[in-house]
């Protein structure tokens, strides 16, 4: 199973990329064995979707340096800020990505993060969503 997990808060500008990409992808035709998940702010509760997946694509808003409004693809395990990550009630994707290799050292799915920095507009949403579908298609065709 390949899963695209879109995370973020649709009610907070700047954190809403994931939910908006989820809305977009829900209207697309997806290959078999692909699930799109509205991950919201579930943080560690997304662990259930890690299990049984061969590939995971997380979609989230990104901060930091980068071209604004363009889809950016990161290798999941290096995508988070490497400063010490502590669990708290607001634990989100960064903590999840940080802990996954330790929780599943022998059966970790391939993890990719797709996001964008800066303003979210319809073109950015479509670009990020298409990027996810391109990755899925490449995985499906072995490309």
């Amino acid at each position: 199973m390949r899963r695209i997990i879109c995370v973020g808060n649709r009610y907070v500008a700047g954190d809403d990329l994931g939910p908006l990409v989820y809305d977009y992808l829900r209207c697309q035709s997806l290959p078999a064995q692909v699930e799109v998940i509205d991950g919201g702010l579930a943080g560690l509760n997304l662990l259930s979707f890690v299990e049984g997946a061969s590939h995971l694509i997380f979609v989230d808003a990104l901060t930091g340096e980068g071209p604004s409004g363009q889809a950016i693809v990161l290798s999941g395990l290096t995508a988070f800020n490497e400063s010490p990550l502590h669990y708290n009630h607001a634990t989100g994707l960064a903590y999840l990505l940080g802990v996954l290799p330790h929780l599943y050292p022998d059966e970790l799915p391939e993890i990719i993060v797709v996001g964008a920095v800066g303003q979210v507009d319809p073109q950015t949403i479509a670009q990020v969503a298409d990027c996810c579908l391109n990755i899925i298609n490449q995985l499906t065709t072995g490309g």
């Binding site: 950016i72 693809v73 990161l74 960064a94």
Partner: protein, 525 residues
């Protein structure tokens, strides 16, 4: 000559919107202010909505204790509707709330609290290397085990309530889901698995052996009894905490409040805790107010909220939550770092008081109200402190797990309703009170003309993290900080020990993924 310095300490690891300011003199905290830094205003969001909307909206107040908010929202509507829910609904409501306790207590203790034991400030401690092995963020053996096991046990709420967090399966009159036998058996299996893990890893002994510990001396003897006890999580927590003097931190006012909770079915073999002729109880956890360990009956009319030091209008207000209002005073708000904390409002949290007194809540308060023999003995001997506050949280599961197993057995063998029909709720007022994971949680609701006209929420952190009241008396954890020694003002870990022993929860914050400069960019599209 003494040297006085002041520090602002953002406690973002506890929550993203709590800031504590302390004044140090001769290496000790001599003054403390606690500031909730975010206005939420859920109460105002509720006004004008339909009577049942609180069942959907208020669980979103918190992603950790959403079942507790749902519980009290439903109880308030039960009261307005004048309905007594069936026994099976009480079992389902209690079971889901207890699962929330199980996961939160373990995550708080071993992902949040003990993470401080693995910081370099303790590198000279003989147990430091083992603390790192257990508690290092993301990697510690205990950290990983707790994440795995709490993930599994939460599936019980997902089975019984549809999802966790933010489920809405409780309604006035009961619950909306009648579990089938196979679903109950699945829950039983998950609970049994969790109990075995808890006994093996957290306690290092059976629940039956643990229940034999009734005094501080018994606890010492238990710790000496075997390597399994010493190497258990409770055993290691006690050994490390004693080595760093945790019991000498965080005394506080010594006032405790529990709303009680986990309402008992009329017909059950489960026995409530702490019942006596002069302290009757209706739930597994008793309600009460205590000074030290001397408890008194609880009277919700004695609850009030003071606004003198909060950024709200009507600053002389000290009303009961049925009368109190939530009007933010943006004109009095001063951004962080620019506040004059002496004499001026400094928090978005109101100051909850019981009979005019600052009062702490949480597992320690519950144990005192239940007259738990070990915890009562420890408090009588040492006074309240950070160690016993945290220990009460870690061992709360020992009183929950047997009752949970019995409730599942009763659900499997007892036929009965899960819902009593309720008519349309048009007018009335009611309150829902319960113990949430962090302590006393209440919703006070008024319905007029088929609409919510008034909604007030007092969360556990409103009690524990309150600012000063109109008399200038400090809130519970402000008071608990007084006298705390701070070895390194640049890393005041002792302050964290005290505050986190209350398990603070203000709210969840907005988070985006902070892209690492070292991230491996695969491609730009």
């Amino acid at each position: 000559m003494s040297r006085k310095i002041e520090l602002n300490i953002p406690l973002n690891r506890a929550e993203g919107d709590l800031e504590v300011r302390i004044a140090l003199e001769d290496g000790q905290v001599v003054e403390a202010w606690s500031s909730g830094t975010m206005y939420r205003g859920f109460e105002n969001l509720m006004r004008g909505r339909g009577p049942l909307d609180g069942l959907v909206i208020t669980p979103r107040i918190c992603g950790i204790c959403s079942t507790a908010h749902l519980t009290v929202a439903a109880k308030a509507l039960d009261m307005i509707a004048g309905v007594t829910i069936p026994d099976n609904a009480k079992r389902i409501r209690s079971l889901t709330l207890m699962v929330e306790f199980l996961q939160s207590d373990m995550r708080q203790a071993f992902l949040m609290y003990t993470a401080d034991f693995a910081t370099p400030i303790y590198q000279d401690q003989p147990l430091f290397a083992e603390a790192v092995q257990r508690y290092e963020p993301l990697k510690g053996q205990t950290v990983l085990a707790v994440i795995r096991e709490t993930k599994k046990v939460l599936e019980i709420i997902a089975i019984l309530g549809g999802q966790w967090p933010h489920s809405s399966f409780m309604v006035p009159g009961g619950v909306v889901f009648m579990p089938e036998t196979n679903e109950l058996l699945q829950c039983q299996h998950l609970l049994t698995h969790y109990r075995r893990w808890y006994e093996r890893r957290i306690l290092g002994c059976s629940l039956d052996r643990w229940q034999q510990i009734e005094t501080a001396a018994d606890l010492d003897a238990w710790l000496e009894e075997s390597k399994a006890h010493q190497n258990s999580e409770v055993g290691f927590f006690l050994r490390f905490s004693r080595a760093i003097g945790l019991a000498e931190l965080g005394r506080g006012h010594g006032n405790f409040i529990s709303y009680g909770g986990l309402d008992m079915p009329l017909e059950t073999t489960v026995q409530p805790f702490g019942a006596s002729n002069d302290h009757p109880v209706t739930g597994l956890i008793p309600a009460g107010f205590a000074q030290g360990t001397a408890r008194q009956p609880f009277d919700q009319t004695k609850i009030s909220e003071h606004l003198r030091y909060a950024w709200f209008k009507d600053q002389e207000q000290d009303d009961h939550p049925f009368e109190g209002e939530t009007h933010p005073d943006v004109d009095s708000f001063v951004p962080l770092g620019q506040q004059d904390w002496a004499g001026e409002p400094y928090s978005w949290a109101k100051a909850a008081r019981y009979d005019g007194l600052p009062t702490e809540t949480g597992p320690l308060a519950e144990m005192i109200m239940a007259q738990h023999p070990l915890i009562t003995d420890l408090v009588n001997r040492d006074g309240p402190n950070a160690l016993v506050r945290e220990l009460a949280r870690i061992i709360r599961s020992t009183i929950l797990l047997p009752a949970m197993a019995q409730y599942f057995q009763e659900l499997l063998t007892t036929k009965g309703s899960f819902y009593h029909p309720v008519g349309k709720i048009v007018t009335g007022q009611g309150f829902g009170l319960a113990q949430a994971t962090r302590g006393a949680l209440g919703h006070w609701v008024k319905i007029e003309h088929d609409r919510i006209s008034h909604y007030q929420v007092i969360s556990p952190t409103t009690w524990n993290g309150s600012p000063r009241d109109k008399a200038g008396v400090r809130g519970p954890w402000e008071e608990a900080l007084i006298g705390t020694p701070v070895r390194d003002p640049a890393n005041p870990v002792e302050v964290g020990h005290v505050i986190r022993s209350f398990d603070p929860c203000l709210v969840c914050t907005v988070h985006t993924l902070n892209r690492s400069p070292n991230a491996q960019v695969r491609r730009l599209v």
